[in-house]
Symmetry: C2
Subunit: 354 residues, 2 copies
């Protein structure tokens, strides 16, 4: 087959229209609509299996007698060090949090390093130390790994992949498919700090007080809810694409309407100011230590109080409910009482935020 | 603390001498002596735990009632497509093989993609299709994943991380620590095809017949040995650093001497010719479908015959034995009867071979 014919055949079968998108764009990795399309149209169908189709932060696997949660993320954040964290802390935290969102106790992590030739040895050492400290704080062990080095100019300092496994803390399935009309949506804290912190460093912006990333392992605050017997239907951490994209994904996966109230969503004043300055909407800004819990209405007050008793949940708030409409939309009531439909992040807002 | 003081403190504690190695070099990722040093001096002690210290291709974890093998590798091979395979096939095969080397049945994989902005969509589609086909052929499911996009010039087309989990096929521990004096070392087939195939494409070399990578999933051939009850003490696939580096790693981890016989190690004539042309020693060239089994002497013939009955083991050969000397050296008898000590690959031989 000639190269041209071969290209034509692929053009016929590739599920992303090549005429429109001949090349992968930064926005395909932003966590918004284009990422969603790439996953839904190309990757999930290619690897066709029901676990991927659950569209959750991780997969729950039956392995022998045990139920095991399994997840992975790669971290390509720029800069490598920022107020409140660094790529190593993020790489451990992110995967711990994805396991926690499956209702699992995170136990073991793998680490894959892709290092660019020329990275200062001291930088590598600082990143490794940070991973070690974060793993110890979260109570997980790093048990297997791999190190690759690529030529100068073919990477960007260091990229880190972590995968993680954990055992389930509850027999109850925690997933978008489990949400029900009337369920309460609780947000664990204020939005936007991680994204704004990264943007401020990148753009050289100085605010009155330094904005630190909210990057933190969520496994302990989540296990507190589970151990107290709260009827949790879904959990989701609010990373790339922010609260808005997460809610839209859940609504679509569950085929349920979600209604939230803008006025009760906590955003710090300095973060709100920075968002205005940068032209960003905090609803779409990435967080690394914030999540939503969608719980049975009867347990909402109990869950809120448990969250508020934990340092990572001090600003937790009930922000909405699952609707009974026949719809998969997310609607938001504004402070002045109007209502609008919330969409996923479109295009690239904040590339390489995690 | 000033930046200078901070740098000094790190220089004091960083276990790799920064004066000698201020930056990470390509050779730190070659799978040879410098990789070994980086892992042994910095990474393994930092993540201090007995599972990493087993220095195996993966970790074996107790999870609830189940024993689970867990492993990861990143793939940065250049070019992305080569005779006999591509980065997608390699990424599935490599992790399947690492699980197989733990004596596990590979079941589930995660996939982390780091894509460089501008990668042709068609290339991504070909890689995804290849992963799909390889996973189906190996009988594993891809159940969770992550996609990141980095700016043009900050990556190299596509890097892939896979992690994998599987259940153990046997209660017997399969690891370097289990080898015993008198054990037989069996090599599953001819050496060097993957590395030479990659180098030939990269250097634009044409041989009489095209040399194809040996890239293949080894889980079926390994499970054949286990299911037949062969007393296997250690398994190791012969990737970066080749047969020589693998044997040295095992000898050092087990604190046992290993003695092999050069004249019985199968290397194809075309591969041997290419190695001479390129100044490479086939003992150090990477393979992606070859492994050694270190088995109890009493089962050596049985194991050899089982391997030879499988298409991937047609050229299997007994190449040596575990010595009873008080030593951790690898020695090799040459065709003319002399004996020499085999060392790890030093420096970079073949960067980005996998």
């Amino acid at each position: 087959m000639t190269a041209e014919l071969e290209a034509q055949e692929f053009a016929l079968t590739c599920p992303i229209p090549i005429a429109q998108y001949p090349n992968v764009l930064l926005a395909h990795g932003s966590g918004g609509k284009m990422t969603h399309n790439l996953l839904e149209k190309m990757i999930v169908p290619a690897f066709n299996n029901p676990l991927l189709e659950a569209r959750h932060d991780g997969a729950v696997l039956q392995m022998g007698e045990a139920k095991v949660a399994f997840t992975t993320d790669s971290y390509v954040v720029r800069p490598l060090f920022f107020p409140g964290g660094d790529i190593g802390k993020l790489a451990v935290t992110g995967t711990v949090n994805d396991l926690a969102m499956c209702g699992a106790r995170p136990l073991f992590l793998s680490v894959g390093l892709i290092i660019e030739e020329g990275l200062p040895m001291e930088t590598l050492w600082r990143v490794i130390q940070s991973m070690r400290q974060t793993a110890a704080a979260a109570g997980v062990a790093i048990v297997t790994g791999d190190t690759k080095v690529v030529d100068k100019g073919k990477g960007d300092g260091i990229f880190i992949n972590t995968a993680g496994v954990g055992t389930l803390l509850t027999d109850r399935q925690i997933a978008p498919s489990q949400i029900e009309p009337g369920d309460t949506i609780i947000l664990s804290g204020d939005l936007g700090r991680h994204g704004i912190c990264i943007m401020a460093v990148r753009e050289g912006l100085a605010f009155e007080s330094e904005i630190e990333s909210d990057c933190a392992p969520l496994n302990n605050i989540v296990s507190r809810l589970i151990e107290a017997g709260v009827e949790i239907h879904c959990l989701r951490d609010l990373t790339r694409g922010g609260l808005a994209s997460s809610l839209v994904e859940i609504a679509q996966a569950a085929q349920r309407q979600i209604n939230i109230d803008e006025s009760v969503i906590p955003v710090r004043e300095d973060v709100r100011g920075a968002c205005e300055l940068l032209g960003l909407d905090p609803m779409y800004v990435a967080n690394e230590g914030r999540f939503i819990a969608i719980v049975a209405q009867k347990d909402a007050r109990k869950a809120l109080s448990l969250l508020r008793d934990h340092p990572l949940g001090a600003d937790a708030a009930i922000i909405g409910e699952v609707g009974s409409e026949d719809s998969d939309l997310v609607t938001m009531r504004s402070a002045i009482g109007t209502s609008r439909i919330v969409d996923m992040l479109s295009g690239e807002q904040l590339p390489r935020i995690c």
